[in-house]
Symmetry: D3
Subunit: 171 residues, 6 copies
Amino acid sequence: MGRFQPFHLGHLGLVKQILKDCDEIIILVTSAQFNYLEKDPFTAGERIEMIHNSLKESDVDLNKCIILTLENQFNIAIWSSYLKSMLPKFDMVYSGNDYVKMLLKDSGIEVTKPVFMDRTLYNATKIRSMIISGDDWEKLVPHAVSSFIKKINGKNRLSIINQSDTKPTEH
Amino acid sequence: MGRFQPFHLGHLGLVKQILKDCDEIIILVTSAQFNYLEKDPFTAGERIEMIHNSLKESDVDLNKCIILTLENQFNIAIWSSYLKSMLPKFDMVYSGNDYVKMLLKDSGIEVTKPVFMDRTLYNATKIRSMIISGDDWEKLVPHAVSSFIKKINGKNRLSIINQSDTKPTEH
Amino acid sequence: MGRFQPFHLGHLGLVKQILKDCDEIIILVTSAQFNYLEKDPFTAGERIEMIHNSLKESDVDLNKCIILTLENQFNIAIWSSYLKSMLPKFDMVYSGNDYVKMLLKDSGIEVTKPVFMDRTLYNATKIRSMIISGDDWEKLVPHAVSSFIKKINGKNRLSIINQSDTKPTEH
Amino acid sequence: MGRFQPFHLGHLGLVKQILKDCDEIIILVTSAQFNYLEKDPFTAGERIEMIHNSLKESDVDLNKCIILTLENQFNIAIWSSYLKSMLPKFDMVYSGNDYVKMLLKDSGIEVTKPVFMDRTLYNATKIRSMIISGDDWEKLVPHAVSSFIKKINGKNRLSIINQSDTKPTEH
Amino acid sequence: MGRFQPFHLGHLGLVKQILKDCDEIIILVTSAQFNYLEKDPFTAGERIEMIHNSLKESDVDLNKCIILTLENQFNIAIWSSYLKSMLPKFDMVYSGNDYVKMLLKDSGIEVTKPVFMDRTLYNATKIRSMIISGDDWEKLVPHAVSSFIKKINGKNRLSIINQSDTKPTEH
Amino acid sequence: MGRFQPFHLGHLGLVKQILKDCDEIIILVTSAQFNYLEKDPFTAGERIEMIHNSLKESDVDLNKCIILTLENQFNIAIWSSYLKSMLPKFDMVYSGNDYVKMLLKDSGIEVTKPVFMDRTLYNATKIRSMIISGDDWEKLVPHAVSSFIKKINGKNRLSIINQSDTKPTEH
């Protein structure tokens, strides 16, 4: 699970690693209701498209992958229950996030910490900054992601959001 | 798109038919937020699991299928815009529903009417009644669906919902 | 206040009657979030446009009219408070509805019953039926309303909604 | 748990019965967000006041009673999780409702069926009808409830709601 | 469109400027659901009243002005669609905000940049600070606005909000 | 009223002080929908349990106490009306908060400022920090609260929330 803003090579590496251990993987796009925001510039639909195309162009068997979306909840104590209602039955959650682990543990959901690739390098926040500044970000994401972001002129979108004083969800 | 309460052989036939014309198909589970209700007894997660398993056991190439969920909106005039924000880019919507066609048309979305199999026979409302009454419903759904519904004791759930005066979402 | 689905000559008559007694009138479009439904086919924007154009073509002084919208609330006990927060200060509410009168009375809001024109004739539910069946409905609404409804092909919209089994807001 | 529209002698009997078996009881007012509706005429606050006063005037030890409110949820599959987040820890739920029992069972919550008093007689729907028609309803509710309903002129409220075509939460 | 917290002479100047080019103007009060907050101290109703009175006291023809409100949306990708559903048909949006321009552009809505008056001087954030500190703010707003703010004792409201640690919408 | 994250001896002192002046007290747990957040780590249910147990172990008469919950509203102008709909009738609100006082005053609700105990010492924000750092916080809260927090391993929960970059309700 992740916000995948955007999906990068670190994420793709995790998918491949998990598929070595598991028959099937659910890739869950969280914060699905947010978009055109500094930390969430891409819509849920765009994120699914980037992930789907990335898996397709790499050697991942899509037969084993289910890509789904989940909206954030405000009553966090019921999040694990909400998760179960929106996903097919799953046996394990891969997460390196202690907060997620705590939330799931009370519901008896097993959490495994995956082996991350270099998290300083493969970091969505950093990649978004590089897209804006024109740094060499393309090598950090699957080809399908960089070509998608260029097609929708993502640099323009991220720059405008970044320079804007308008924070439509803040109050 | 459909509520898929449950996914039946008529739905499966449509998936196969559409895949003859298209490279990829998005199967969209609507009314995703509803469950344990008379017309919506199964959770979004259960519906995805039934669809995913049905496609897998039949000769459908899962590489070409994306299964997603969508919550109902109350401001219907923005529904097509919401649809676009939550899905990967699509070229056409298959629907035999004139109401859906009208809503999409104003957004310039092309709608094609598929050739339905016998809709009196393959009808989710009727199948739910047959599950409750113990009629021979299993032949109307993929094997993966009938075995899933039996595993979760769906007959018991549907019967209790059907006999209950409690309508938690009514007011 | 009213849903104005659509605004008819009975409504227009009330506006004129109230303006004889008051300096200014607020015309409040309620159920503003609903549209493309059997009882609420027109969007808030379309309803405002029909009202605005009707007032303009008749001899009503728009300087004295404020047209606003209000979404329905589910906690009805706070409705009068919500009303106050969304409207400029008002001295009186015109309503023939005892339910509305009861809700406002506890907040110390004065309610006056207007003199209605023939309510069997000037009745939005009946007018919507006549639009669908092709009866002579145009004479029951201001010219601006009939020409607007024809321009957006309202007959087609109302007919499709009426024939549809899809009730997107029901569950 | 119950909507308590209004709290009657059958409810009071259950409270006393449960307190014979348990150290403490949580009385949960459900559908808390609804009011001024045909099936939910009283606000959450009014219902708490009626229950609190009824317990106080009878021989129930308020030290052992916690009265709380709960809003209805639309994603019913997470209801038991929501229940747990909003209540102090509880060991058992008393309910004669098979639907509620089914929802709680999956979360490992024990459900006990209480022994009801005459449910045809002590029935909130029937009591609301009797209030409107002026039948002898006072003997079916605690004195605190009948005097409260008279004080707020409940007969008038229920009659107006009952006669009204305005259904503010319907669409 | 704007939050108009409060409506100042810069806003009034824009209304006059736009009415030189257009037959009618819709003045849209955004963030309509927020009030009694540091950046949004006035209710939607108060803001409409201030704008209406300002236009009335100046030489603006109210026949050409429609003042409406809009609540903020969290799924920003559907904002332009929501805008269309809530407003009468419009031909152009006046905005100097690149973020708004980007959001509207994808829906084919034409955006024109108006010529602003001195934005350092006519600035709602600055005016709110001046109201609190007692600086000479009255000359920056229409007379109708300054007299309204004085009538409701706006200085007191803004000061209390400003000094308060209570941020009811934060979490 | 308060968030009671957690309920401390300053709060308990206020309850006792108010009960000297009043027959009954409503203790209102606000921000009820939030939990597992930095400023709101405990669920509504946990907070009620801590308060209930604290009153029980001290010499407070529970017969005179009603503990209720309230969710935060975003349209603050209707907050006092919402408050009234969710609570039994009350004669006075005890609050030292000028912001709360302002909101209630317009609804004609009398507000009294209680005499606080040492607010630098008895301060929930400070107590949460002390729980994380292992300082001697137990003496600042009722015994029932410290034993409850230890039982649910509150130190672990607060530490994980505090160290986490995941802010599920932010956007």
